[in-house]
Symmetry: D2
Subunit: 286 residues, 4 copies
């Protein structure tokens, strides 16, 4: 059975890119199902995402890849082509609050998220989480103290490698990754921060928001970098609040924002919709 492919590319902007890519796919017998592109005129960068499938059984993806690689070399592109039958492998980290994890598990179960969850890691034991049911997903208990942090991060890194995890999702994981681990996971690790960044960085953002008296709260999904709460933003959303809302109300309302923002961000990443652009992201939304 034939598959669908997703091509993503980025490079310095220059004439002829679209012509080269689309002509190549046409010549190789592929149909373009969807294409989105973006010129960042500030940085003179070009970004593109193309979804394509074979027009006939004669199509040869290896030949297409080879031609596309030649184009990538010519235009000095970062280019990747992914067969959508190969689902993204995702490792989810969680601490005590499990609403994002439960939501991701549910979405995967009903087939909404095209990914394999290859494991769940927590710094709390499984019974502390009171998880409904992980099914076949392995659970890893990696408690972290100041003393054990380095070795536990090593264990985590080993786990990433052993599971082949392409994406690590911090689903309300309350430990800060070390600079070293953040560097190893660059553009491969997403965090959900429970505020509308750049407002209310750091700890207890809902309490900060309550103290400041804002009228709208939000959540932010971003790539993890060594600079806490400063990573490139993938998705944000907000909800209106009022003076009547206590910090507990904000936490409750925030859960709904967090889980939908993180779910969107994870979906965008596993569907290759998110391309790095320096400190920012290009997100080709459907």
């Amino acid at each position: 059975m034939s598959s669908t492919y997703i091509l993503t590319l980025s490079c310095a902007n220059q004439p002829g890119i679209v012509a080269a890519v689309s002509s190549c796919l046409f010549a190789q017998g592929y149909n373009i199902l969807d294409a989105q592109q973006f010129d960042d005129t500030e940085t003179n960068s070009f970004f593109m995402r193309v979804v394509f499938d074979p027009a006939s059984p004669e199509c040869n993806i290896d030949a297409a890849r080879s031609e596309l690689d030649a184009i990538a070399t010519r235009f000095k592109m970062r280019l990747s082509v992914r067969d959508t039958r190969q689902k993204r492998r995702v490792l989810v980290l969680v601490s005590k609050f499990d609403h994002c994890l439960v939501d991701l598990l549910y979405r995967r179960r009903i087939g909404e998220m095209d990914m394999h969850i290859v494991g769940v890691v927590s710094n709390h034991p499984q019974d502390a989480l009171d998880l409904p049911d992980l099914g076949m997903v392995p659970f890893h208990y990696l408690p972290v103290t100041r003393e054990t942090r380095i070795e536990q991060e090593a264990a985590l890194w080993t786990l990433v490698q052993e599971t082949g995890a392409e994406l690590v999702v911090l689903a309300r994981y309350m430990q800060v990754l070390s600079e070293e681990l953040a560097a190893k996971l660059v553009w491969r690790c997403i965090n959900i921060h429970h505020s509308f960044l750049p407002g209310f960085k750091g700890a207890k953002p809902y309490h900060q928001a309550h103290a400041r008296g804002v009228k709208v709260i939000g959540a932010t999904a971003h790539f993890v970098t060594s600079d806490l709460d400063e990573g490139p933003i993938i998705e944000q959303d907000v909800e209106r609040i009022s003076h009547r809302d206590t910090p507990d109300d904000l936490i409750r309302k925030g859960r709904d924002i967090e889980r939908r923002v993180l779910a969107r961000a994870v979906r965008y990443v596993v569907e290759d919709r998110v391309l790095p652009n320096g400190r920012k992201t290009v997100v080709f939304i459907d």
Copy 2:
């Protein structure tokens, strides 16, 4: 001085369209600044919008147009290329409520809307509108009664032709156009309906919404067809209300929704972002 061009096209979907268009523009020496496309797999239709400008002074837009026309013929496309220096000519019709008109005039004044307002038509005299200042924009008073409707529509049609209006905007114009005039203005006439269609068609939608007890109200900008309130939708937006809101509150809150929905729709149309797709529209949003 060189210009920027907007190409829009639609046709039956078939392999090679993007390759043909992008290769042509590349060969003619043009840079693609932005491109968006859409495959409607239900109707097997393809839609594309490309913004391009010349890479050098040697570029010849007539030559490019000629090549593009050849492509259009080959692929049986509806294709148009517009020089953005030629602003769209827009005629605005209004009755007693002038918030949408005032808003459009203001946006044009500060340069937000790339259009010429070639005239304002009302079925009420100018002093009834209490308009702040139309500047150089001619005002036409075309009162409509059951008896005069046919001749006034003829006058309106003459005005459209004389002013070269490419777009007619019903900015809370409370007269229903005849089937004949609607047909003449097909895909060239926008209405703002003060409800979230298809809910609350017809008269007094805010009163209908109040009576039904909805918790959210909205507005809809759509192309005018002979079938009242059934035209293809361009843009919609909503706002939350509560049981405390009277019909007058809804009218007040609705004004804000109406003017921003209509302004967006007009901007999308004058920037060639809206392509007809049967009973629906493709809107390439920025």
Copy 3:
């Protein structure tokens, strides 16, 4: 241990209501923690919700109730006082799509929803639902065919009585209740309709929305009446879509809207925030 009480009342508007109620609670030694009121000037109706707790251990809720009942008689009020320690008993009905049910179960599990789920009923067998874990909640399989509808509704009504269910939630339950059952459950049965009512009543609303080409979709939680999709609306919300969204995309995006709209509506009801107002509702939002 002392408790908190919620008083709700409605009656014809007349002078002195607030003075009578607040003076009574003050005289009985209760603190008013929260109070919201609404005058419907159209129908000359008055609605009030008061949260109060005892200022001292000497307070006697029976005495307070007796005084309040006297006020209710004097003003011809519908008045109720509920001890918040007595959680609302809720029966949830579901068909094949379980996202709303799973969401309600999760919210109850983490203590967000102040209710007992006394049972889950489905017209499909439990394994068809592939539910993660109902815990202690009994599951009832009540398959419905044209022939068995009357007896199954009888079984359902028996279940309502046996479980003491004060609220029945149709969480994407795809069977229409008979006029008789709807009448028995008046103001006690909530449905989530997967469209922004009054738009797209009836079957397959997302397909209707796609065919109409709307730019925003929504969901509506409403009380069930014998008049399908016409019951008093409790809560609505929406999300923006585009021409790119297929009916399947709308179904996916809609799930998120449905579950948050239904969860809010159920929370409002179990917290006595929703008061009947003819064909409409008064919702005292926090």
Copy 4:
């Protein structure tokens, strides 16, 4: 002709407040049309807004005021009663961007905002603003340089006193008020900041937002304090953006957010819906 009155009060929370106020109004022959209240359990503060009108021509507002003042003394309240026939007097300050000013003028013209605009002040000459028409509203040109700032603020303060301005609105006024003037205008001066505070304080917030790569932008209306961009927030709103939006696009989209946020905040203040609560506000929204 009789009038409607708005009572606002705040004090330390204590039993009997609502009973005292509502019994007084009832005894004096007034109808309560609307009442909202809020207990801030953190600070043990109580806030209330009551709208009332006379039930008969015999009602005497002076007698009612006198009784209410006695209650205020007893409960140590800040209490005010305003006759809604006396419209709030508002002074609007503006620099080069006039979208908020134009919007406020329009809303006042159509009767949406219950206020007198007693003057417009700018640090730019009137023709620089290209204002459509101020009608009868006096324009004051008060250019500010580092040298003249003190004397111009003195002129501004004189203007506030001469016009009897109860509210000063900084409608994109780009000069920072001195600590002294801010102190004189405490709780009487509103600013619109073109970001979603506390994110992007200070200059060029849209450029900051673009550089940070946020996915949502916003605007904030707040009371002016000597601590720049730290004043109590009255209203905020947001809009979704994407990687495609340039700083100019954010400025354009921001204009719509700014004018609606400022208009709401001004309306809330002139309708006595906003009560000070330390660093925060209580806003009794309709």
